[in-house]
Amino acid sequence: MLSGRFTAMRKVSLLLLMFLSAGSAAQNVGTVDTEGLRALLGNRSDTVCVVNFWATWCSPCVKEIGYFEELHRLDDPLLKVVLVNLDFPDQVEQRVQPFIRAHDLTAPVVNMTEMDYNKWIPLVHEDWSGAIPATLIFNAKESEFIGTEIAREELFEMIHTFNSK
């Protein structure tokens, strides 16, 4: 009886703790440079990697970012989502961190620190103009580049196709 109550109390406090941590501990934005991006894009395995390029000032990016968060929350060990943020590095504290909190983003966000974009844009796709939103999906076997906005259904369908190959 006593131990039952104790367990229940533990459960409650555990829930409380989870609730508190979910509410307060927004992720800290990481950084990525040309070499970091090269490593990320070169790491080809069975895992389907989804790399989305976005910025807080890009309204079509903001519109679709929830779809990528949704993918991340599937918690699929064979699916990895990375959100490469293109706000200026000096805007991370003022704009990007608050955005992550407001949208409760748990998918990893990394801020691009190489400002000479022409150094890394060709690594993503040779035909990419650098316009965002843009998304690269790849695994060991193939890769798909989407240089425009993407609808939720289209994105999930693509992931499904990758997984079934």
């Binding site: 590095p89 000096d90 000479d116 974009y117 103009s129 965002i132």
Partner: protein
């Protein structure tokens, strides 16, 4: 004759909207657009200049904002030697409410733009040039009365931090023209926001 010229120009604009971006060496597309002071400005107003630094830019884009001061500096540095800046705002008012003519006037006044800031109200001109970004530079070279595109693309290679710039593409291109050479590179991918087309 004048009528004929006007319709020929119109046809050219129409055909250019179907094709992709102008390339270095191509003839520049003539334009007549409304400036923030209410007066019309034409490319032909610059016939007595050695060239024109044509910049498609806008009010709210962080890249445009980051480059604002550098665009003013380009004008101050090169207008005296015959390469003034002409800025064109290509964004649609509805798609980008911060780019209305009134807001352009406010920005030009606030920043004291020493160059015209024109509204591409029909969006025909940016399409004819094939501009896709703000900011997006087309350096025009006046070859015996005909403007030709000499350089297309980025202003330099660091939007955020001017002190970290190692390649001043537009300045290098003007210097090449001044020395009687063609700019090299003649084209560098412009980095910025997408131009907001009418939906």
């Amino acid at each position: 004759m004048k009528k004929l010229l006007v319709s020929a120009g119109f046809l050219f604009v129409l055909s250019a909207t179907v094709s992709a971006q102008l390339a270095p060496g191509d003839e520049a597309v003539p334009f007549t657009l409304k400036n923030v002071d209410g007066k019309m400005v034409s490319l032909s107003d610059y016939d007595d200049q050695k060239g024109v630094i044509l910049v498609f830019t806008c009010n709210p884009c962080p890249f445009s904002k980051a480059y604002e001061q550098r665009i003013i500096q380009l004008h101050k540095k090169f207008a005296p030697s015959g390469y003034p800046v002409v800025a064109i705002n290509p964004n649609d008012d509805v798609a980008s409410p911060d780019d209305t003519f009134e807001k352009m006037q406010a920005r030009a006044a606030e920043k004291n733009f020493p160059f015209p800031y024109l509204k591409d109200a029909t969006q025909e001109i940016y399409k004819a040039y094939g501009a896709t970004r703000t900011p997006h530079v087309f350096l025009l070279d006046n070859e015996n009365g005909t403007f030709r595109v000499a350089y297309i693309g980025a202003i330099d290679n660091n939007a955020m931090d001017e002190r970290a710039v190692s390649e001043k593409y537009v300045e290098l291109a003007i210097k090449a023209l001044e020395n009687g050479n063609q700019p090299d590179p003649a084209q560098v991918k412009a980095i910025g926001c997408t131009i907001k087309a009418r939906r």
